[in-house]
């Protein structure tokens, strides 16, 4: 007993030792690290495909890759970035690590299922990679029928099965979070004392458990069409290929909220902590997450304005799409108001918040262009859409993820990274990102369709700009990997609370002990009680 107890009092990183102790761990923090390593690998793979796309589009002729190869490259870029990086990014890493700690629990409700979700992710990823090496897949990440079911002669079935399998890892994560939040909160941790990051994870989990099964059955139907000739979406036997689009977007639009809601949660934490001030309008920020998750399920038809769906259906989807913009606006104003009369420290997490705010603003506002039906007719399936969703998913989602990673890195690893490097990387990524994707709005309005391997010469100027920006962006991302890994080796030891932030995770050592808390915490204060916050344990530069 005493021996076991001492193991639990040690840092989760150190005890027990050995590869097997990691691969068989039930500790949510270790599983978070496993996920972090996996998604970083896939981010690199997806990024390589992105680099190939940008290299091809420097010239209009389509002379670097063959058409078939180009089509596979953009498909794999999408499939890998969405299903293997963005969707698990914040929930499975930061969420997995922090959610139990933030609510005062020793672990998630189902630690074994948590580990299972990582293994399912790995199996799904392996199956998808098998498709890559078995000739690739060229349907676009959207798998639209009947191209995917009847026409393409690439490894669609394998890739679809990979996505199907990975979906269950996402379902299990969401399911674990929901049960944990309902049943594992420490005494005194009422719903309205939860950190906003936790609220955002809750909303995300709802989307995960309600949406993912639908895309699972949908891609399963595509696989069955190819393997068993079922023909549910086959127009030749009277099936409707557009039904696929409805089922697909019923998940895949809310899936965007799986990517952005957790990032919004991260920003809520960071804005308060870096301003050392109570978040402005706590309940509005919390409920706007739920509103986005719920309304987000009713807007999928805005992907189908030109797909021959009824125009009255289009009207309903358009008006609801316009409404879903409102809670995002509310959040943005609340973050801004939180900074008013704050005590804002200019440390690297702050730079990531600025980056997030700038890019998310553009991403969110350009959504209005696409929600307005008459304008969407012209813009849909052009580079305007490509730019818009990259501003949301990369500008918002990835900036939020990186911001969170910089903020909680000391807690997760017990090491501090180089501040200057952190700031430079944030700026490189911000400017590189804008250089890459802003020109795409312009070339999109000019009419350049997405998924084009070759294009008319008048679009070249903007494509060259975009590719040049991508170089900056690539340097920025590489830099982060380097200085974070360097910090593990040579970085100074992190104190328990480097930022002087509130929240249970900052009350325990960095890195945490295996069981998070040696005694069950009892919560007596509101969230973000910065009037009584402890001082930061490191100086402001």
């Amino acid at each position: 007993m005493s021996n076991e107890a001492s193991v639990h009092e040690q840092s989760y990183l150190g005890a027990p030792h050995g590869l097997a102790s990691w691969l068989l761990t039930k500790d949510h923090k270790r599983i978070a690290i496993l996920y972090l390593i996996s998604i970083t690998i896939f981010f690199a793979v997806g990024g390589t495909f992105a680099a190939m796309i940008r290299a091809e589009l420097v010239t209009p002729q389509g002379d670097l890759l063959s058409s078939d190869l180009y089509n596979k490259v953009f498909t794999l870029h999408g499939v890998i970035m969405i299903f293997f990086f963005l969707i698990p990014s914040i929930p499975a890493t930061l969420g997995n690590f922090l959610l139990p700690i933030m609510i005062g629990a020793k672990d998630l409700a189902f630690p074994r299922i948590n580990l299972l979700s990582w293994y399912i992710y790995v199996i799904g990823a392996t199956v998808t990679l098998a498709a890559v090496f078995n000739g690739g897949v060229d349907t676009g990440w959207t798998f639209y029928t009947p191209y995917s079911s009847m026409s393409s002669n690439t490894s669609v079935t394998t890739a679809a099965l990979g996505v199907f399998i990975t979906g269950f890892s996402s379902i299990l994560t969401g399911f674990n979070f929901i049960v944990t939040l309902h049943r594992m909160r420490a005494p005194g941790m009422t719903w309205f004392r939860l950190p906003l990051f936790v609220w955002a994870q809750y909303a995300t989990s709802l989307v995960m458990i309600l949406g993912t099964p639908v895309v699972a059955i949908t891609v399963l139907l595509v696989a069955a069409e190819r393997a068993l000739h079922l023909g549910i979406f086959d127009p030749k036997i009277g099936g409707d290929p557009v039904l696929f689009q409805h089922l697909f977007w019923f998940y895949s639009h809310p899936a965007v909220y799986i990517m952005i809601l957790p990032a919004m949660g991260v920003v809520s934490e960071l804005v308060a902590a870096m301003s050392r001030k109570q978040i402005f309008g706590y309940s509005f920020v919390a409920f706007s997450s739920l509103a986005i998750a719920i309304i987000g399920f009713l807007v999928w038809g805005h992907h189908l304005f030109v797909s021959s769906q009824s125009i009255y259906a289009g009207l309903v989807f358009s008006i609801i799409t316009m409404m879903v913009a409102v809670p995002s606006a509310v959040k943005t104003f609340n973050w801004t108001a939180t900074m008013y009369k704050g005590a804002i420290s200019w440390e690297s997490p702050t730079f990531w918040i600025f980056g997030f705010m700038g890019l998310f603003l553009v991403g969110g506002l350009t959504g209005l262009f696409l929600g307005a039906m008459g304008l969407d007719i012209h813009l849909t399936d052009t580079y305007f859409v490509v730019a818009h969703f990259h501003y949301i998913m990369v500008g918002g989602g990835v900036m939020g993820f990186l911001g969170g990673l910089h903020f909680w890195w000391p807690k997760m690893t017990g090491k501090m990274y180089n501040e200057t490097a952190g700031k430079i990387a944030a700026m490189l990524v911000f400017f590189g990102f804008n250089a890459t994707f802003f020109p795409q709005f312009i070339v999109g309005y000019m009419g350049m369709p997405r998924r084009y391997h070759a294009y008319p010469p008048e679009f070249q100027f903007f494509n060259v700009l975009s590719s040049a920006g991508a170089v900056l962006l690539g340097i920025g991302y590489t830099m982060i990997v380097i200085y974070l890994i360097y910090s593990l080796i040579k970085g100074p030891k992190a104190p328990a609370n480097p930022w002087g932030a509130t929240g249970l995770e900052w009350k325990i050592p960095s890195p945490p002990i295996t069981h998070n808390f040696s005694e069950m915490p009892v919560v007596t204060e509101e969230a973000y009680d910065y009037q009584h916050a402890p001082a930061p344990q490191r100086g402001v530069k």
């Binding site: 399911f175 309902h182 594992m184 039904l243």
Partner: protein, 218 residues
């Protein structure tokens, strides 16, 4: 709760504070899981609604190809198995080991009967060339082809759930025979029961929707 080390039940996992919390977590977990299952089948039901609306006559005709007597028999079998499952949970809560094992085995036997009947139904469809694929009867009307595609998808996924259910039951019955479950610790039996009832309920929707189209009145 303040003295967790002295009174910890051997089946209480480390990260829970007490048995009630553990039971509540696993029950809620199964409910949340069943919500995802509803959404999973929901995609298929959506396709069902769309195509039944598009091809009302073809669907009635295709439905008449199904054997409603066998479908009805299977419905009865599953309803009875839900009853025996509920009795098994009750027996666990009352710490009645023998009854637990008896009811669990009965439930499993009924589940197996269901799958055997299903097998013979599928076999008949193969013989009549009503299975999508290379042996499909090409003269079939378009809407009927889609009906059979969905029929096999829906009942096939349901049958897969039955097979998984039997696997879970095997695990439960072995532990029940060892006397693992009693009034203090019966969570796994209850959770397995929830799953079993859910799979039954899906069938209770599938049966009329697939077998009984246009059978009223005429």
């Amino acid at each position: 709760m303040s003295t967790p080390t002295t009174t910890r039940h051997p089946k209480l996992q480390e990260h829970f504070y007490n048995m009630d919390q553990q039971l509540e977590a696993s029950t809620l977990g199964m409910w949340v899981f069943l919500v995802t299952e509803v959404m999973f089948f929901g995609g298929l039901f959506m396709a069902y609604i769309v195509y039944r609306h598009m091809y009302p006559h073809a669907w009635v005709e295709a439905s008449h190809e199904l054997n409603w007597q066998l479908g009805g028999l299977n419905t009865m079998v599953l309803i009875v198995s839900s009853l025996t499952m509920a009795l098994a949970v009750r027996a666990a809560m009352l710490s009645e080991k023998k009854q637990q094992v008896f009811y669990l085995l009965t439930t499993m036997a009924l589940g197996t009967v269901f799958l055997v009947v299903k097998f013979f139904e599928y076999k008949a469809k193969f013989e009549h060339h009503l299975v999508p694929g290379p042996h499909f009867n090409p003269a079939l009307e378009q809407g009927m082809q889609i009906f059979f595609s969905l029929y096999f998808m829906m009942t096939g996924i349901h049958a897969a759930h039955m097979v998984i259910g039997l696997g879970i039951m095997t695990y439960i019955v072995i532990n029940a025979a060892k006397g693992t479950y009693n009034a203090e610790y019966y969570g796994p039996v209850e959770v397995a029961g929830l799953y079993w009832h859910f799979v039954d309920i899906v069938w209770i929707f599938l049966f009329p929707l697939l077998y009984l189209l246009g059978r009223h009145g005429a």
